[in-house]
Symmetry: C2
C-alpha cells in the first residue's frame, strides 16, 4: 500500500495520487498558501471502497476539512467535494451560532446527505426556499438569525426523517462516511462506463485529498476564481469573479451577482459593483503574485480558485487557464520565451488541429447560431454569402463582387471554377474525401458536405431544411466548415491571425522537426500558398486539374474524341505548350525545391461533358456529329471508375499522353534552370501502379523522352522517377518497385479505399453509423488505419528499402495532414509527408511533435 | 564434357541428350529395331557451335547416316534432319547409278545446300520441276534414268555455282558440315527468341543424333507413319500412311498419294489403292508388334515413323500419339488399367482444363468455321440457335422449343431468366468475370463475352460484324465458348460423353486428392449438377440470386422501398417462407454435406429496375408515386458499387435483412434434420468483412436468432459462422477474424479486384493489352496472382490458424476451379476449394494432381 502523503511532501505523483494532489503539492512546495492536508493514493482509496479505513494523522480534524477527488485526469470525473467536515452542533455552539458557522453546518448537512447518504437534494432545496418565502426575503443573507437557525433545524430533521439517524456528530465518523462515499462512487459501474467512454483506462484510479477548510464565509472573507490571461487571445490580463462571504463554487452559482476581480474588467463590463481590486487592493495584489507563482510552479497559465479567510488569500486549486486555440499558442510561446518551459514543451502543448483557427475566419464562439443543416466538416473556417446553385452563378456573383456560397447536390470537376469564385461550399451528398471536400481543402475554402438533412430541388431552385424552412438563390447563409453546419444569415466572425506567436511557434516547429513537410499543390495559386507556409517542396502536383481550365478542356476533349493515335497526338501537341508553361510557373515559384508531378491519373471519361446540352456544344465546336461524342462517352463509361482504366493503365496503353507530359516537364525544367540559381530536380510520379512492369515500361519511355529533349535543347536535366503506392499489391511488391524507382509515395486515400474495399465517395452513407457502433474506431479516410493500411505501408517501406537503400519515402494522401498519421510516418522514418497547402501549418507542428517524441524514446 | 553415347546405352538422359535420344535409346534397349547410332549431348553440341568437332566412332560412316535434332522439348524446335550423309559420286557409282542411290544423292545435295550452306531451296525445286516438264512427266518416278542423272548433275552444278565449291565428297566433311550447321542453328538469336517465347529456359540445350540410314528408296522398301489409337476417341485402332520407295517425310508431302496402313481404314475411306496390311502382311504384323513394344517402352500411346528396307521394318522414332482431350483420358485410363503406368501417372497426364471437352458440346474440330466475332472464352462448350436480343425473347423461344442464343451488350441480373432459357450467350462488353461470364459458367452455358468487334444496335435490332455482315433476330449463329468465337450458322457438333474412362479417372482423382472440392451453387438446379459431379459440399451459395425470381423480386423491391424499419420488416416477413423453402430444398439435395450460405451481398440498388418503364410498373404495382421509386433509386446510386454499401455493411446498418436470412437458415435446417439421416450443419458466411467488429456484431445477432428459433421450434441445430476474406484488410486482420469465425473463405474475385485496384467488370478494356505486353503475366482474374493476392492469402492463413487451430480454410472465387490456383491452395494446406458446378471435374482432377505432387515432395 502506498503511503499517505502530506501536500507539502515531494513525489506526490499524479500516477498514484491524481492530478489535483500533484498540483496542490507543487503549489504548496512553491510557497503558495494552500490549506494543509493529506493526499490518499489510488490503492488506499480502492481499499477504502472495500471498507478498509486508512490511518490518518490525529490532528487532521483539529478544524473542519474538505474531502476532494483527485483522479488521474480531470476529464474522468470523480464525485463533487464534501466541504466543512467536522462541523457539528458543538462547533456551531462554540461559534456562538455565528451566521458563518450555521452556514457551514447547513452546507455540510446538505452535501453529506446527498453525497454520502444519496438523499434527494430537492428535499433541502425545498426547505431552503420555503424558509426564504416564509420570511419574505429573497436571499439567505437577508434571513433573520432565528430563521437561519430554523432552516438548520429543518435540515437536520429532514436528514433524520430520511435516514432514521441523527446527523453524525463525530467528525471522524463524518470523515469516514465522506471518504467511503467518494471511493465507492468511483467504482460504481455507471461512473466506470462514463469514464471509459472518455478514454480512461480500465484500471484508472482515484486519489482523495483531505484538506483543512479555508473559510470564506466570515467577515472580510469570500471566495472566487481568477485567471491571468485572456481566454480568446492569451494576452496577460486579470479576469475573474469574487463573492464576499462565500465558499466553494458559490461564485459560479449565480445566487448572488459576483464582483469582477479587476477594475479594468469591471469598467469594460460597465458593472457598478466594486471590483476586488478596489475593495481589497492587498488581496488583489496577493492574487496577482500567487497567480504568477502558480503559473511558474505548474508551468502553465492558470485559472485559480481562491478563498479569502480573515483577510488572507488561500489558493484551493490552480488548473490550466481556459483558452481558445489561438490563446494556447500565445500562452505556450510566452511561457517558453520567459523560460518557464522549453520550446519542445511549448510545441508539444499545442493540438496541431487547433491551428486551423489561426488560418481561417471563425464564427464568434459567443454568437447565436441558427443551424438549418448539418453535414461533415469537410474544410475548416466559416464564410457568409448569398446562395448560388451553379458554378456559373458563382462566377457572376464574383464578377459583381458579391460574396456567395455555392450549394450543390455534389460537385464535379466542372464546378471547380465555380468553387474558385465562391466563398464557401455546401453539398447535400459526399464524404470527407468527396470531390467537393478535397477541392475545398485545397483552396482553403470553408466547406460542408453530405448535409443529408437539407433537400435541394434543382427545378424549383430551392433549398429546404428539415423543419421546412426554404431558401432561394440570393438568400444569405453561412457555412461553418469547422463544425459542419449550415447557418441562417450572417453571424459575427473572427478573422484569421497569422504572425506573432503563431510565426514563432512555426519557426520552432521547423527547427525541431526531422521529417519533411511538402504540399499537395496543383496550381500556381496552391504553390504560392504552400511557399507562404514554408514547405519543403511539392509532394503531389495532380496534373489533371490543369486540364480543366477553359482553354484546355476543349483540347483535352478533342484528344479523347480523336480517332486513333495520330489525331490524339495532334491534340496533345497543342496541349504541350500549355502544360509546359504550367510547369515553368510551378518550378519558378518553388525556387529549386523538389516538385513531384503525378502523371495523368483519372479515367478519360471524367473530362467529357455529362449533360446532353454540353455534348451538343462540344460536337458543334468540333464539327462532329453529337452521336460520336455520346458513343465515346458510353464506351468510356465504367462500372467502378475508381478501379478502372486510369493512372498508369492509361499510360501503358495510350503512351502518347504520358510522353507529352514528360516532355513538358523536361522542357520546363531546362527553361527554368537556364536562369535559376537553384536548379529544379523534377520528380515524376506514376499513379495506380500494381505491377513493377508498369514502372519499367513508363521509365523506358520517360528516359527516352529525357534524352530526346536533351538532344533538342542541348541541355540536360536531372530528374527522379517514382511510383505512387496506392494499391495493396504495389505495397506488397514494393521490393520490386524500388529497383526501378527513386522514390515511393503512399497515396493513402486510394490505398485505404482498396485495403478496405471501400469507396470514399460512397462511404458517407454508413460511415457515421460505423464509427458510432465502434465497427471502425475512426473514419479511416480521416485518420490512418495503422492496423491494416499502416501494416501494408510498413511492409512496403521495409521491402523497398531492402532493395534500394537510397529510396525516398513519402505520403501524399489526405492523411499527410493528419497528426496521428504524421506520427506514424515519423515512426516509420519516412522522408516527408505531403498535404493540402492549408494543412501545412498543422503538419509542420505535428511533424515537430512526432520528431520530439521520437527523439525522447 | 559429357560422353557421347550409343543409342543402345543406358542413361541417355533427356536432360543431357534431349528427348529424341532418350526415346530412341529406350526403344533400342527394348529390342525394337532402331538404326544404330550415337547421341551427342548438349555440351558437346554447344562446343560444336563454337567450332570444336568431337571425336566420333571410326565406323560411323561405314554406310550413310542421318543427323537429327534432339532438343529438351519437342516444342522448342531444332533444325530439320539432314539425311543420306556419306552419299557421294563414288557411292552412286558403286551402286551402278541405281535410281535409289541417285535419289539419295539428290536429296542430300538439296538438304545440305539449304541446311548447311543456307542456299535458297527454290533453286533446286526449279531444276526439279523443269526436268519433269522437259521430260513431259508428272512425277519423278516416271523420269527416264538419263533425265534423273541429268537432274542430279543440275543439282551439283547449281551447288557449285552458288557456293563456288564442288559438293563435298568426303563423308567426314559432310558430317562435320551438317553437325556444325545444326549446332549453330540452335544458337542463332532468332531461333533462341522463338523458343523462349514457347517457354524454353534461357539455357535450353540441343542434342544431336547421328544414326545409320534405313533406306526406304529401294524395291520392297518405303516409309510411313502409324499410330495405334483413334485420335478422337483413344480407342485401339491402327491408322497411318505408307509410301513405297520413299524416305523421310515423303509420306506426308503429298507428292504421291500414300497408302493406308490397315484394311479397315482403307475401306472406311473408300480408297482403291491397296493397304500396307494387304500389300505386306508381314510388315504390317511387325509394325503392330513394334508399336505395342514402343508404347510399352515409352509408357504412352505412340505414333511411329518407320522405314521398310529390304523387307525389314525399322522404327525411326516413336512419339506420343496425337489425341483429342477425350482420347487422352481413355488412353491414360487404359494404360493404367493395363499396368503400364500407375494411376497417379495417369492422373498427372491429363490437363485438367481439357476435361471441359467431356462436359460440353464441341464444334467438330474438322468443321469449317465462319467466324464473325471474337471475344473472351467465358464459359466453355458450343451452342447453336437463333439470335434473340432480350431475355423476354429468349423465354418466348424456349416456350416455342426453339434453341436460341441471347445476344446483349452486357447482361444484368434481370437477364438471368433469359440466360436460363437460352442455349448460349454472346455479349459485346465485359470480362472473364463479368455478370454474363459468371452466370453462364454457373449454368454450364456456352458464353462469349467482350466481343468488341461486333456492334449491337438496339434500335434497329441488328448485330453487325467488322466486315459489315449483318444479323437480325432469328438468324442462326453458333457461339464457341471454348475458343471465344461467334460463328455464322450451325457447324457440326460433337456431343459430350461422360461415363466410361471419364468416370474411372474421376474416381481415381477422388481417391488421390487430399483437398476438398465444393461447388458454388445458388439454386437447387446448381446443387443437383454439383451432386452429380460428386462434390464434398457447397462452398458458396449466393443468396441474392434467390431474390430475382418473379414472385420474389417484387417483395424484395417493396422491402427496399419501405419507409423505415417497420415496413421493411413486413416485407421481409413475406420473404422469409420463400427463403426458408430455398434452403430446405438445398439441404435436402445435399444430404448432410456442408452448405455454406453467404448472407446477402450486393448493394440494394441492384434489385431495383433500371428503366423508366419498369419503374413505372413497379410504382403502379405498389401503388406509390413513381417519383418515390426514382428518388430511392437515386439515393442508392453509388459511384463505385463494388466498394460501396454492400455485404456486411448492409448487414450491420440494416440488421433485419440478415436476421431474416439467419432465421430462414435455422428453420430450414431444423425442418430437414427432423427426417434426415445425415443432419445438415449450415455454414453462415459474412461477406465483405474489413474489420473484426463486423463479424462480432453479426455473430451476436445470428446467435440470438439461433436461440430464438430453437426456443420456438423446440429443436437445436448446429451451425458454423465464418467470414469471407475479400478485402486486403480482412486478410491482414485474419488473426482477429479467426477468433470469432469457425471458417474463413477467400473470395478471390474481390480480393484480386481490391489488391490490384482493378474492377473485374472494367478490366476487359485493357487486360488483353496488359497480358500481351507482359505487364501482368496472366489475367489475375483467371489465374491466381500468387505474388500479391497469394501472399495476402498465405499471411491470412498463417494468422488465422495461429489464433484458431481448428479454423477451416477455403477458397470460393472463380479461382477455385483453376488448376494452378488449386495447386496453390493445396500447398497452403487449405481444406477445400469451391468452384462453379461445371468446373468441379476439373477441380477434382487438379486437386488430385496437386495432392500427388504434394505427397511426392
Amino acid at each position: 500500500m502506498t503511503n499517505i502523503l502530506n501536500l507539502t511532501d515531494k513525489h506526490v505523483d499524479a500516477d498514484q495520487f491524481g492530478t489535483r494532489a500533484t498540483r496542490l503539492s507543487l503549489m504548496a512546495r512553491a510557497g503558495i498558501p494552500v490549506p494543509d492536508g493529506v493526499a490518499l493514493p489510488f490503492d488506499v482509496v480502492a481499499a477504502l471502497a472495500d471498507g478498509k479505513m486508512p490511518d490518518l494523522p490525529d490532528d487532521l480534524l483539529a478544524r473542519p476539512v474538505a474531502v476532494r477527488s483527485s483522479p488521474g485526469d480531470e476529464a474522468w470525473g470523480g464525485s463533487p467535494a464534501i466541504l466543512n467536515i467536522g462541523v457539528n452542533d458543538a462547533f456551531v455552539a462554540k461559534a456562538d451560532n455565528a451566521r458563518w458557522a450555521v452556514g457551514m453546518y447547513r452546507r455540510l448537512i446538505q452535501n453529506y446527505a446527498v453525497g454520502v447518504d444519496a438523499l434527494d437534494p430537492e428535499l433541502f432545496e425545498n426547505i431552503y426556499y420555503d424558509t426564504l418565502k416564509l420570511a419574505d426575503v429573497e436571499r439567505v443573507e437577508q434571513l433573520p438569525d432565528a430563521d437561519l437557525l430554523g432552516m438548520l433545524a429543518g435540515f437536520k430533521a429532514a436528514y433524520e426523517d430520511e435516514t432514521g439517524d441523527h446527523f453524525p456528530q463525530d467528525p471522524k465518523a463524518q470523515l469516514t462516511g465522506a471518504l467511503q462515499a467518494l471511493a465507492e462512487g468511483w467504482s460504481r459501474t455507471s461512473t466506470r462506463m462514463l469514464r471509459l467512454a472518455k478514454g480512461a483506462p480500465d484500471d484508472a484510479g482515484l486519489g482523495l485529498i483531505v484538506q483543512k477548510m479555508a473559510v470564506g464565509l466570515r467577515a472580510d472573507g469570500g471566495s472566487g476564481f481568477v485567471q491571468f490571461v485572456n481566454e480568446m487571445t492569451g494576452r496577460p490580463v486579470v479576469t475573474g469573479r469574487f463573492l464576499p462571504n462565500s465558499q466553494g463554487q458559490d461564485a459560479l452559482m449565480g445566487l448572488r451577482t459576483p464582483h469582477m476581480i479587476s477594475e479594468a474588467e469591471r469598467e469594460a463590463a460597465g458593472q457598478s459593483a466594486q471590483s476586488l481590486e478596489k475593495m481589497n487592493p492587498k488581496a488583489f495584489a496577493e492574487l496577482e503574485q500567487l497567480g504568477a507563482k502558480a503559473a511558474d510552479a505548474l508551468k502553465d497559465a492558470v485559472q485559480v480558485e481562491f478563498t479569502i479567510e480573515d483577510g488572507k488569500v488561500w489558493l484551493l486549486d490552480a488548473s490550466a487557464a481556459r483558452r481558445s486555440a489561438r490563446a494556447s499558442v500565445r500562452i505556450a510561446v510566452d511561457m517558453a520565451e520567459s523560460g518557464a518551459i522549453t520550446r519542445d514543451q511549448a510545441l508539444l502543448r499545442i493540438e496541431p488541429r487547433s491551428l486551423v483557427e489561426h488560418l481561417h475566419p471563425q464564427i464568434d464562439p459567443h454568437a447565436k447560431r441558427e443551424v438549418f443543416g448539418t453535414g461533415l466538416p469537410a474544410s475548416p473556417g466559416a464564410a457568409t454569402g448569398k446562395i448560388v446553385f451553379s458554378a456559373e452563378a458563382a462566377m457572376s456573383a464574383e464578377a459583381a463582387e458579391e460574396p456567395c456560397i455555392l450549394v450543390r447536390v455534389e460537385t464535379s470537376p466542372e464546378d471547380i471554377r465555380g468553387m474558385h469564385a465562391a466563398k464557401g461550399v455546401l453539398t447535400v451528398r459526399g464524404g470527407m474525401t468527396s470531390h467537393a471536400a478535397v477541392i475545398a481543402r485545397g483552396l482553403g475554402l470553408p466547406c460542408v458536405v453530405g448535409a443529408g438533412d437539407v433537400r435541394l430541388n434543382a427545378k424549383t431552385r430551392t433549398l429546404t431544411a428539415l423543419n421546412g424552412q426554404e431558401f432561394r438563390e440570393g438568400d444569405i447563409i453561412t457555412v461553418d466548415g469547422t463544425r459542419g453546419q449550415a447557418i441562417v444569415g450572417a453571424p459575427p466572425m473572427i478573422q484569421p491571425e497569422l504572425g506573432g506567436s503563431f510565426t514563432t511557434l512555426m519557426d520552432w516547429a521547423d527547427a525541431a522537426r526531422t521529417i519533411g513537410v511538402r504540399a499537395n499543390a496543383d496550381t500556381p495559386m496552391d504553390a504560392r500558398v504552400a511557399r507562404k507556409f514554408n514547405v519543403d517542396g511539392i509532394g503531389l502536383c495532380r496534373t489533371e486539374h490543369m486540364f480543366f481550365e477553359e482553354d484546355r478542356i476543349t483540347v483535352m476533349r478533342e484528344m479523347i474524341l480523336a480517332n486513333g493515335e495520330k489525331d490524339r497526338r495532334a491534340a496533345l501537341d497543342r496541349l504541350l505548350p500549355m502544360q509546359r508553361s504550367d510547369f515553368v510557373e510551378l518550378f519558378e515559384i518553388m525556387h529549386g525545391l523538389p516538385v513531384t508531378i503525378r502523371l495523368l491519373d483519372p479515367p478519360l471519361h471524367e473530362f467529357l461533358p455529362h449533360s446532353r446540352d454540353e455534348m451538343q456544344d462540344l460536337a458543334e465546336a468540333m464539327d462532329i456529329p453529337v452521336s460520336q461524342v455520346i458513343n465515346r462517352a458510353e464506351e468510356l463509361t465504367e462500372f467502378n471508375p475508381m478501379l478502372g482504366k486510369r493512372g498508369v493503365r492509361m499510360g501503358v496503353t495510350m503512351p502518347e499522353i504520358y510522353e507529352m507530359q514528360a516532355r513538358a516537364i523536361f522542357e520546363a525544367a531546362i527553361i527554368v534552370n537556364r536562369k535559376a540559381e537553384q536548379p529544379v530536380v523534377p520528380e515524376i510520379m506514376i499513379p495506380l501502379v500494381s505491377a513493377n512492369r508498369e514502372v519499367e515500361l513508363i521509365k523506358e519511355r520517360v528516359d527516352r523522352i529525357a534524352q530526346d529533349v536533351a538532344a533538342e535543347l542541348g541541355a540536360l536535366t536531372d530528374y527522379r522517377l517514382g511510383a505512387m503506392v496506392e494499391t495493396p499489391r504495389a505495397a506488397l511488391r514494393a521490393g520490386d518497385l524500388a529497383n526501378s524507382s527513386a522514390f515511393l509515395s503512399f497515396g493513402t486515400n486510394d490505398l485505404t479505399q482498396m485495403t478496405y474495399g471501400l469507396s470514399r465517395d460512397d462511404a458517407g452513407r454508413f460511415m457515421r453509423d460505423y464509427v458510432n457502433q465502434g465497427v471502425y474506431p475512426e473514419d479511416p479516410f480521416h485518420t490512418l488505419d495503422t492496423q491494416g493500411v499502416g501494416e501494408l505501408m510498413l511492409l512496403a517501406a521495409e521491402r523497398g528499402r531492402a532493395s534500394n537503400a537510397d529510396l525516398i519515402l513519402g505520403i501524399c494522401g489526405e492523411h499527410g495532414g493528419d497528426p496521428a498519421s504524421i506520427e506514424f510516418c515519423k515512426q516509420a522514418e519516412f522522408d516527408y509527408v505531403s498535404c493540402s497547402p492549408f494543412r501545412v501549418p498543422i503538419a509542420r507542428l505535428a511533424a515537430a511533435q512526432a520528431s520530439i517524441r521520437h527523439a525522447q524514446k
